[in-house]
Symmetry: C2
Subunit: 443 residues, 2 copies
């Protein structure tokens, strides 16, 4: 095929030479990254791409909630676009999100001056990671008008989301007034939306393939569970639930019972795509900074208060919700058995994408074959901004076609300083992305 776009590893390396220095937690190799949502570090990376875009003769525009959109300057009626994010979890890596932005920018810069029947666009979304404010895809959902106004009061590092947005020049009132920055007209002009991302799992590396063609996207429900027992003197209060209302002990039993629920569920409903994670036990910096009850615990006290985060991920919302009902019963019943009260506070509840656009998946397979790349199809275990675009429809009620390209990452590691994908691996994914964006949708 004549219009295959081959992107070199050097193209990728040139960007990373700069980007490895923004938000790094140290200057030694292997240092982690921390670029929170709506932080100076996140903005710095976005400004790097704005500068590069202008240098390449591309248009760069910020939307009202602080996302950055980079576009070709032609005035086509149809657009092929891609997107990703540049924020990271605390002590995370520099590939989750950023690899997709580097790939998208490199692809558009390479295609810019080539003949096309459509415009090209890269969306650099704010705050995809939930680690900062407890909400996923803040920038994308704000742009699409699906972020609840209550999100503005969520706090990270001593600031509300409202304050953090204002500090980065974004307008929280868009969210407060349920407006959107990407109107339906703009959605109607999008032929397809693509996202390249590292797999964040070990499937592709184990299979030894170059590319993962993503079939669906898991979404998460996330809750804070807080347990209120009673503080008592540890030496003088006898053991046993008759005397003690021990929040820590209740917490341990709850987690073990949830583990047992998961295992029994796996047996009776094998094939259910489900992941259950307790990421936090009393370890959220923002909560701890203003939740003085936690620090009423002491070595010499029966514990009166504890909390944990509870995350469920699945490609199938219905099965996930059914399981969650059982899990909540386990939490409540176990807490009650220890004389402890359990409060459940929803953090977020995203809808999964059961199936991404089939035609885009077929196109990707065909291009991989012509480029000589090995590939595998798989669902995405992690959430991605593309999932929100997949929930958009054209005015004629047809869903917006969305596709995702995975590249392998070393040992399947992600959300950790060990996260790594080579320039060669990113370049292959970028070549696939660029070829697809150049060709446009085949159907």
């Amino acid at each position: 095929m004549t219009n295959d776009m081959i992107i070199s590893a050097q193209n990728i390396a040139d960007h990373y030479a700069v980007l490895n220095r923004i938000g790094a937690l140290g200057d030694h190799p292997g240092a982690g990254f921390h670029r929170p949502a709506y932080s100076d570090e996140e903005t710095a990376v976005m400004i790097y791409f704005e500068t590069q875009a202008k240098r390449a003769g591309l248009k760069a525009r910020w939307d009202a909630v602080g996302n950055l959109f980079i576009e070709t300057t032609d005035t086509q009626e149809q657009w092929m676009e891609c997107g990703s994010h540049v924020d990271t979890v605390p002590d995370g890596g520099n590939f989750d999100g950023l690899a997709g932005v580097v790939a998208g920018f490199t692809a558009i810069a390479a295609l810019h001056h080539k003949p096309r029947s459509h415009g090209l666009r890269l969306r650099i979304w704010r705050g995809e990671e939930s680690a900062s404010f407890g909400i996923t895809s803040i920038g994308a959902s704000a742009a699409l008008g699906t972020l609840a106004a209550s999100a503005l009061d969520k706090r990270h590092a001593g600031r509300s989301l409202r304050q953090a947005m204002q500090e980065q020049g974004a307008d929280p009132d868009i969210i407060a007034s349920a407006q959107r920055t990407i109107e339906q007209d703009e959605i109607d002009q999008i032929s397809a939306h693509l996202e390249l991302h590292i797999e964040q799992g070990i499937v592709l590396e184990k299979k030894g393939v170059d590319i993962g063609i993503v079939t669906g996207i898991r979404a998460a429900s996330r809750d804070w569970i807080s347990l209120h027992g009673e503080f008592d003197h540890s030496g003088a209060t006898p053991m046993g639930n008759e005397y003690r209302r021990d929040a820590n002990l209740a917490l341990a039993h709850i987690l073990v019972n949830l583990d047992a629920l998961f295992l029994s569920h796996q047996e009776e409903d094998c094939g259910l795509d489900l992941i259950q994670t307790i990421g936090h036990i009393n370890s959220n910096a923002e909560k701890n900074s203003h939740d003085s009850e936690l620090y009423s615990n002491a070595i010499s006290k029966v514990s009166g208060y504890a909390y944990f985060s509870y995350e469920l991920r699945s490609c199938n919302d219905i099965l996930r919700n059914r399981y969650k009902q059982k899990a909540i019963r386990v939490i409540q019943e176990t807490a009650t058995a220890f004389g402890v009260s359990a409060r459940i506070e929803s953090i977020s509840n995203s809808s999964a994408v059961k199936a991404l656009d089939q035609s885009l998946q077929t196109d990707m397979q065909r291009i991989c074959d012509t480029l000589g790349y090995s590939y595998s199809t798989l669902p995405s275990g992690a959430w991605h901004d593309a999932a929100l675009m997949a929930q958009q429809s054209h005015s004629n009620q047809t869903p917006l076609p969305v596709g995702m390209i995975f590249i392998p990452c070393q040992h399947g590691k992600s959300h950790s300083p060990e996260e790594f994908a080579s320039n060669e691996q990113i370049a292959k994914g970028t070549s696939l992305l660029a070829t697809l964006m150049q060709q446009g949708l085949s159907k």
Copy 2:
């Protein structure tokens, strides 16, 4: 009996009218107290008693490690003394420790001008609570030369113990050079050492008695257990120990297994006086302020790090140590099963007092009978400074006679803002204490 000393509730109330305002966490009734070891708040209460002592014509002297000793001015060769502390746990009450100091001061002030064959002394110890620096009875053990120099590096609220001592005008070098402030000569002149304390349990209230005569004192071993697993992306890392090294999940299973160990132990060895408490899970403010690994946990990560405190209390050191060996095996084996490593760091390891002085207990019973107070004998579930005095001996190798008086506290609550003992209850205990101090040791 002619020399029974009846102390009125008003005497107690007068002191509390001032003392309820030092270190209170709010000015509403029911607000908790926080007076850490070697803090301004602790010193303020001690200065209150220094002032009261001088006003009453008593001698007040600070020892080199910051304890305050209040004495009659006569020059007797023998002394009847009592002691207690004025620090509190975070969000604690105003009776644990302080009630004993108010009682001791009130008793000595009432006896001061009466004829006696011995001097009277009150020891106001620093930092009995382990909650600040993780060590019990800092002041008493420093005064007796039994505090390890390594204690000086323990930290609380951003300071080392060394710094906190210096800020309160105390000399940490006494500890560093293993000196003592109470020499053997002074010990030899003590006829008996007494401590009045709230029970911190519900036994006396349930029995409806005025006084508890304490038979022995439980001591604690305290350890930090830290668990190191591996941080991974929660969505893309499959469930199961094959893929995840989940510190939070290991912690939950360890706590539940320790709970099972305790229950099985109770069955096979009923009668063993033992209490097991996990007071902290990731909830120690000092550790969290400099342990950045904890805050690498996130909702969307498999947990890579967690810690908890592990406390065992018993009146019987041998049985406690035997049980602890089994517990450590449970911790290590459970952690290993989850691919997590467990590190155990000793915080403190105190020796229990199996039996307090029998003759003092007999004297107390006799005095209660003559005063018309109901009483019960019981071991102390909690640690007290008196336990350290009970480990001292006269030069002729006989143990220093030590006795403890308990008074009931409401609902058995302690180490909590709900902690409460009435002025009447404290006054009864004080009358017993004063009578005993007046009479001297009967044997």
